[in-house]
């Protein structure tokens, strides 16, 4: 069968619109349920621990090596122009504005987005979500809202910690490998850093936290079939969250820093 290219593109565009509409409707319903009582406090605390506390090691490791590589790479480049003294500035601005929020969120998307989609997807295919409804418990309030709240609350904290660890990584390489004076490195870092650099990174983190948990919940909640459906939901949750992180990263950067 020969299908014209325009027909294929049209179908893809319609499918994209349909998916966007479905995610938007899901998000609106989830947010509405998240702000209305009852609140499942135990679920919220448990999700904050799961998303925040247990993600600290992986986010910390990502941050420290990113800071170290950034210092090393900047040195090899800047040394050509005798601009080595700008390394602390480059490290701190790159980390707080971009690399901290984006890399930490991508790691959390891989760890948490997948886990949320797998857990909720399994609950869907084993009728546990239907069971919640028959027990007069709204699945959006019990499953989705606590994860969204935990994502929005914990990602900024994780990113703040990642910023500090990343700067430490840059400091270690700068002082112990590149022979910077430790006091001068720290002074350069602090003097150059502005409130807006950190704040924009934390705003990004909150938005990314919402997107990661939303994608995990959406793909898990709408998964169909058995193990294959749950597997697809997991993959889709991570891929869609990652793409959304990059997309929203641009728009938030534009909102904060565009001239």
């Amino acid at each position: 069968m020969n299908i014209p290219l325009l027909t294929v593109l049209g179908r893809m565009f319609l499918a994209f619109l349909e998916a966007t509409g479905a995610v938007t409707a899901f998000a609106f319903h989830a947010v509405r349920q998240a702000v209305q009582p009852p609140y499942y406090r135990r679920q919220i605390v448990s999700q904050i621990l799961e998303i925040g506390y247990y993600s600290l090691p992986v986010v910390g490791l990502t941050a420290i090596f990113t800071g170290m590589v950034l210092a090393l790479q900047s040195y090899t480049g800047f040394a050509r122009f005798s601009a080595e003294s700008a390394i602390p500035n480059v490290v701190v601005v790159s980390l707080t504005r971009e690399l901290g929020p984006v890399l930490a969120s991508l790691m959390v998307a891989g760890r948490i987005g997948a886990a949320i989609a797998a857990e909720i997807g399994t609950m869907r295919v084993t009728e546990q979500i239907d069971a919640l409804t028959t027990l007069s418990t709204d699945p959006f309030k019990y499953l989705v809202a606590p994860r969204l709240i935990a994502g929005i609350v914990t990602l900024p904290i994780l990113v703040f910690v990642a910023d500090i660890i990343g700067i430490l990584g840059g400091f270690l390489v700068g002082v112990y490998k590149l022979d910077f004076n430790d006091a001068a490195y720290l002074r350069n870092t602090i003097d150059f850093l502005q409130f807006q650099d950190v704040f924009s990174g934390l705003v990004k983190a909150a938005v990314f936290g919402f997107l990661i948990t939303l994608m995990g919940c959406y793909h898990g909640y709408t998964s169909k079939g058995g193990a294959q459906g749950v597997g697809m939901a997991t993959t889709n949750a991570v891929v869609s969250a990652s793409i959304l992180i990059f997309t929203f990263n641009y728009f938030i950067t534009e909102a904060f820093f565009a001239r």
């Binding site: 009728e127 409804t133 028959t134 027990l135 007069s136 418990t137 709204d138």
Partner: protein, 258 residues
């Protein structure tokens, strides 16, 4: 004067794309009655149950519970009617992240606002009613056999003492002895609560044991319904073929040659 129906369905239809699953179901279940809907796989039994429960919206028709039309309910009204329901799912649908007692106490704690300690006592009592000791309450569902999971699911279904209990294939996947144990427990629990029961199954031994009345679903329609005692002389060739499990008859299974 006739007793008003506990559950009443009129012309209920549901399709998925071109596939017409339910094609105008009329059904009345009296208070305290145990109605069993039988039928082959894929005939729409589960869809019928989900429509009554409100987990799925029918395309047309009326579903009344205690005389109240439920099809167009908002979330609050739905939650109020849901309080009358208990449901035993085919696979148990136990929450695998919670201990057994927390599963049984879930409804009383989360929906009725009961204190955890009080709800734990209720859970232990309900586990006792289905023949399980309090020590089972400390286990996770994954540590239980299929039969024990069904019992826990039954305990959860009756924990809030519902007026109407739904059973979705309650004996599927169980050996004949355990299936009979579950049937006995269902009869006992429904009788003790004085509840109305709606079950779907293709297990005739189960249908005969737990039902007062049986209806047969075929191609989206209830083609026969009547008292359990009449099932063996229904005069309906489809029913005869189904209850005797014959391959030959008016019901043709679609089998594709490899």
């Amino acid at each position: 004067m006739s007793v008003p129906s506990k559950i009443s369905l009129r012309d209920v239809a549901k399709s998925f794309g071109p596939k017409k699953v339910l094609q105008g179901i009329d059904l009345d279940v009296a208070p305290g009655e145990s109605m069993v809907v039988i039928g082959g796989s894929g005939t729409g039994k589960s869809v019928l149950l989900k429509c009554i429960l409100g987990l799925m919206a029918p395309d047309r028709g009326s579903i009344c519970v205690d005389g109240e039309e439920t099809v167009a309910f908002n979330d609050r009204s739905r939650a109020r009617v849901m309080r009358k329901f208990g449901m035993l799912f085919q696979g148990g649908a136990l929450f695998d992240s919670l201990r057994v007692w927390e599963n049984v106490a879930f409804g009383p704690i989360q929906s009725d606002g009961m204190k955890a300690e009080e709800a734990r006592e209720v859970a232990v009592a309900k586990l006792g009613a289905v023949g399980l000791g309090p020590e089972i309450g400390e286990l996770f569902p994954s540590e239980l056999s299929g039969g024990m999971q069904k019992r826990v699911a039954l305990a959860r279904a009756i924990a809030r003492e519902p007026e109407i209990i739904f059973f979705d294939e309650p004996t599927t996947g169980l050996d004949p002895i355990m299936a009979d144990v579950i049937n006995d427990l269902i009869v006992k629990c429904v009788s003790d609560l004085g509840a109305t029961a709606v079950s779907i199954t293709h297990d005739m031994a189960s249908a005969r044991k737990i039902g007062h009345r049986i209806g047969m679903l075929y191609e989206g329609r209830l083609i026969w319904q009547g008292p359990v005692a009449d099932i063996d002389h229904s005069g309906n060739a489809h029913v005869d073929q189904f209850i005797h499990g014959r391959a030959e008859g008016p019901i043709r299974m679609q089998v594709r040659k490899l």
